[in-house]
Symmetry: C2
Subunit: 336 residues, 2 copies
């Protein structure tokens, strides 16, 4: 790195706090954490070191005023981790752009926003270009295992007939908000009720599917989604709570996309506490076929934080606009 | 694709001929094969269809005069498959560039030329920039399994301690030149003699290692290489020839790179006829760890051709200069 990149952590939930910790470790790689933003009154005004449970003070006071933080710190990049939903974060992202701050975001709907939110995507692209900055959504899922990695695997093939991606996550090892998000410990009827809200379960599977399709220039005529509960077959105890036999242990979410009768994509995601054989697998039925597995799967929380941190130099070097992972160069770890 | 890309196949060995076949299949994806170049007198002047063993004539006459082919066809991209060695192909690449033709090449030493041939790399970069074209070396190995894919896997990690990549290829299924290149059927003493030539075995392992190191900004203080014969433990028969028990069945090639005492890279390649359990595996000892395997391995010949064809639109869209796979966006299959 030739030039220091000033980074602000925008959002201090579990992922944001871990991101802040990793950013602090990257000072040898040209990353300087210069600010932290959160709206939680319990955090605002406190030193970031205290929020992160560190012994030392960092001299970074958590603020709820993004504009002022950006102005006073000459921020180059905001690592943004506040919500899964694009409508909720639009004004935050727009404000970053208008302050000439590049955005790396964990917002799942931002990973491939052109399908669910085409107007917001167009607006963000325009604001980003007007202000000469880049906005990108990334993470592990969406961001890598069920989309960018399968797309890259197709690069070794011609004549692709289908792609099947399977991810099985043992949620016992994951952060509490995620266990809540997948309904662990609920009754089946509560699960079905909550499902109707439309904001339940894993967010981003549709985005992953449409990202792959766009990368292959496949025009999907039909997309089918389903969300079902996984049921505990025995009592399970996690560090956070217990799931009794017969209760919901997590989710089983599937999305299928069809390009004509001949080409199909299938993404199959199981996230539940006590999962057997957690793994990620990708099968590309092409010429040649690619049969890829990541044993035990990529561990979600730390990988998402790694993706957010590692992409910073690529985003700074990129041309302006709203980008997705297929417009940027291959991600790689930022230093050791 | 909005605009047709005129492509010339430069070199009609086994890989080049297969590339020409695939390019012909990509007319729906904006690729038009407009010319073919080879120096073999048995091919020059003949119709490409005849060379490819097709029934129909293609109206493309194989020529040994690259400059004339480029001028008469308004070539945008040359798919270049003539040699593994950069010194041998330098003038060919320079001529492409001077004819304003982008180059996608299977030349192994071109995949990461900055270590073994820094002066040639500098010259090629200058010529490419002067003529507004892009030059890139790619393929499956080097190009994907032992370099770009491991580098991309690190994108999910922070704190990388080591990377171990293993590729085991059953050479029985591969083209004859490759079986020759790995010494299948030789005596051990002939193998050792041939090894001294320095151009024996797999070319590109060093390039793969230094590509990963450069991607991670690791400064390797020490690089160790070894090349040993694999010995047939029983008689083996391939479609092309026989290997007797005790003869060489292929190669075992290893390269290690060390960044301080704490960080290391290991690439381990076995290519031999009758290989047990062919596969590709990548282990990134990072936070989180990534333990990835491609079952049966990526099949080399067709994957190399796929990589060469698939990268064409990315190269056309890229800025000028000598590039490597880490400067370009994630590779993906060009249409179905």
């Amino acid at each position: 790195m030739t030039k220091t990149i000033n980074v602000v952590q925008y959002g201090l939930g579990p992922i944001g706090a871990e991101s802040a910790r990793k950013l602090l470790e990257k000072s040898d790689n040209g990353i300087r954490l210069v600010g932290a933003i959160d709206i939680d009154p319990a955090k605002v005004g406190k030193d970031l070191g205290e929020i992160l449970g560190m012994k030392e003070r960092l001299g970074i006071v958590v603020s709820n005023d993004a504009r002022t933080v950006f102005r006073s710190t000459q921020t180059h990049v905001a690592v943004h981790t506040t919500s899964s939903f694009l409508e909720k974060v639009f004004s935050q992202l727009a404000q970053c752009a208008e302050s000439n701050v590049n955005v790396v975001s964990s917002t799942e709907e931002l990973f491939y926003p052109y399908d669910r939110h085409p107007r917001i995507a167009m607006e963000l692209d325009a604001i980003a270009k007007r202000n000469g900055i880049t906005i990108v959504g990334t993470g592990v899922n969406p961001g890598f295992v069920m989309d960018t990695l399968p797309l890259m695997a197709t690069g070794m093939c011609t004549k692709i007939r289908s792609i099947t991606v399977e991810r099985v996550v043992d949620a016992s090892r994951r952060r509490l908000p995620l266990q809540r998000k997948i309904g662990a410990g609920m009754s089946v009827s509560d699960f079905e009720e909550k499902k109707k809200s439309g904001t339940f379960g894993h967010i981003g599977l549709r985005e992953s599917l449409l990202f792959i399709a766009a990368g292959l220039e496949w025009n999907l005529q039909r997309v089918e989604e389903s969300l079902a509960p996984m049921i505990a077959t025995k009592d399970i105890k996690t560090p956070y709570f217990e799931v009794a036999r017969g209760q919901v242990s997590g989710i089983h979410q599937i999305i299928n996309g069809y390009n004509n009768a001949t080409h199909s994509l299938l993404l199959d995601l199981k996230m539940y506490v006590g999962a057997d054989n957690p793994h990620d697998s990708i099968f590309v039925d092409g010429d040649p076929p690619i049969d890829l597995e990541i044993k035990t799967g990529v561990f979600g929380d730390s990988a998402t934080v790694a993706a957010l941190v590692n992409i910073i130099p690529l985003v700074v070097a990129s041309g302006p606009g709203l980008m997705t992972m297929k417009e940027l160069p291959v991600l790689r770890s930022l230093g050791s």
